[in-house]
Amino acid sequence: MAQLIDDDPRIIEFDVRTDEMLVNMGPQHPSTHGVLRLVLRTDGEIVSEVEPHIGYLHRCAEKIGENLTARQWIPYTDRMDYLAAMNMNLGWSLAVEKLMQYQVSERARHLRVLIAEMGRIASHLVGMGAYGLDLGTFSPFLYAFREREKILDLFEEACGARLTYSYITVGGLTADLPPGWLRKCEDFLDQFEPIIKEYHALLTTNAIFVKRTANIGVMSPELAIEYGCSGPVLRGSGVDQDMRRDGESIYTAMYDGYAFEVAVMKNGHYPRDHQYPPVPADAVIGDCWHRFFVRMLEVVQSMDLVRQSIDRYSACKGPLGEPVKLTEKIPAGDAYLETECPKGQMGFYLVSDGSAIPWRVRARSSSFSNLAVTHELCRGCLIADVPAIVGSLDIVMGEIDR
Amino acid sequence: MNLLTAGLPSTAIPLFAGLLDAPVGVAHYLVVGAILFTSGVVCMALKRNALGVLMGIELVLNGANVNFVAFSSPYLRGEGSASLGLDGQLIALFVILLAAAEAAVALAITLNFYNNHATVDIDQADDLKG
């Protein structure tokens, strides 16, 4: 045993020793994505332990949900993952619809796909830009926000809001798209497509970026599953799971007829539906680079889905349908549904006693689970790796603290 | 004569009278060197912090260096008297180099001491006490 330990190459000792230091990273720190507080136990530049402290953004959202009708709670879901509010709306709406066994119209279904995927693009753009920021390069952040602004413009045109949309709602969507919107959306996609190459040049394939992310914060698939990670974080570790394909039928039915390939490394390669940059030699599956790369692939994937949904949506001639009444009674019972949000699998659970107001509301946050793995990933890394790892998890505190 | 020294009697004791207008000689440097040297020695004798002792050593070496340079300086050379010439400067150079090396070695010793005793108080370093 002793022999074994001696030969363990992972254990390193230095002649020079310093004392441990407890450092607070956050809740006010440039790279903690909001009000996350990480307590680092450092020894020199080495981080020996990381403990995330959360709760700085707690707003009793679930409790509020138990005092509002289902549709009234929609704006609160906006404020969970405020970077992908559309997807939050969708998750809650579908959960309620599952309990009500409500079927939205075909037109609303395709529109929901369109909006949700656009929301995914917007969210991933923030994730990508902010990740560059975490690694000390500022420009990609602005490039990302430039494009995100265009998406927000489109959303604003559709629903009137730029951040908290409450657009998708129980029973459909609050309004149909304005005329000409699709045209603008297509224009945006056409214009956006070549820009992704720029992103790859600036970040994905940048030598320094690769050095900073490849082989950093490696998360094994087992670890990811154990911690309940989901979304790009899970797929970055090579686990082939996507709720849009593997979820419950009420959710997967939404994507019926859509062709997409889950962005995950299978058999040593990522989907080859588009021209992607090659995986650098240093990168190992499950590291920061792969998590980042999966997000970049999902942007392209979402663009494909948006294009498909535009075609389908325009082909639908029927009415969009009206959302349910604000005070619509929910049948007694409970329902739980997980949807694939940009950050991961977002689950909503509600128990109804038959009234319009749910008896219990609960949200399962993907970022919460993703953040929990931080202390595993950051053990023994350098301080500079902490933002790189936390950034690669792409967490949103609004969703975690609720 | 200038404004600053105009008021001072030029025949006062050389140490003070000539300070501003008399040219600087070797002895001036030697005084500085002596002060540096003494400071270093006192520092070594006083500091319980091993790093402080190191700094004392640096001061001592530096004081010696001042003397070397002074003796070798072409500007401070007295009329007709011999000086060390470049030799003084070269010795000063070697002292500087060796002092840097010495600092590295001494630091290594200090660090080992710190690793073993969890302190840099050299009063604790009495393992060889008789």
Partner: protein, 425 residues
Amino acid sequence: MADFLINTVGLPEWLAWTITALVAAALILNVIAGGALVFIWAERKIAARIQDRLGPTRTGGRFGWLQSLADGIKLLAKEDLMPEGADGMLFRLAPYISFCASFCAFIALPFAFDFVGQRLNVGVFFVVAVLGLEVFGVILAGYASASKWSLFGSMREAAQVVSYEVPLGMCVVVPVMLAGSMDLVTIAEKQSGWLSSWYLFHDPFTFVIFWVYVTCAVASVNRAPFDLAEAESELVAGFHTEYSGLRWSFFFMAEYGSMFLVSALAAVLFLGGWNGPIPVATLLGLSEGTGDTANYFVRLIGCGNLLLKATLGVLLMMWVRWTLPRLRIDQVMTTCLKYCTPIAAAMFAGAMLWQLAFPGGVVRGISRPAGEIREGWLEGPGGLSAGRGAVGAKPTAIPSAATGTPVVPTLESSIESRDVVKVGS
């Protein structure tokens, strides 16, 4: 200028020298402070353009050209905060030390042939040594701030700068070797002539080592991607986390001053100094003997040349900063120890061998006979033929002040021979 004051105005000599020195100091100070303002503004605009935005637009009417000044005034007016538990004296002193080091290094930097604060025969050495002191203020700031982030920042800075001084020194030694002098003025003078006489194009090794120098210079002044000491995504703001107001701006000025300094040093060492790519002055027939006015004019052009090159260097650093992510500290060290140092050493050896193989230079074609160059050490002040012409037939000049009035001691000069001193230019 001192002579002018003494001889013409009739001021007492000590006063004349004081005034001369103060003028020189003020000039350099202005270069740094003013330069910092300009560069900060330029950086904002450049960064904005790189990032697809406009940058400051309103202050000062157009282009926001007064924005830096406005910010400076704002900084002056800001409350000077000092954290509880900070080491007050060191906390206050640290920015000045940084700034002083940056400023002091300018003393030996020649802007044109005689436009130099103090021509030192160990000029290169002096500049590098003093520049290295800048980090001292940073360390003190980091320690004195009583903040862990600051401490981290200063530790990184210390390690980084100390490490990068090694390859930087090696890079700097190459032009010194080629010129046979550590005097910056001499080094720049040796590169006079066409573009091809710049040391950058002297041989392949110098070309490579120039880029090593650029890397090391960027690292030693803590600019992206080597800005570990203030890595905002990790260490909040590094060593100056706790600083505000004027003290903070001193750090800023020191940083921009250093940037300018290393760029200017690069220009002097590798890019011909104040010599343009085309020897316009020589082509026009302007030379040392043409006359004072023309001479002065030529030097002004040279000064502009140098400032332009240095500015280009600064702009290059900005461009890099707004493009690349930041390296991690161990990667920075790797870059230094595993790449820069060996490459610099190899290039140094290569340049040496090149000198041995082609003493006259290859690119330059027709050049001085080898013997003359080999005996170069005999020239210059203090050599065997001390006082008999450092550059060409010119007498050795010991410049008196930044204004460029060399005092030339001749062999005949003695204690009483102050009057014999010849006034140059």
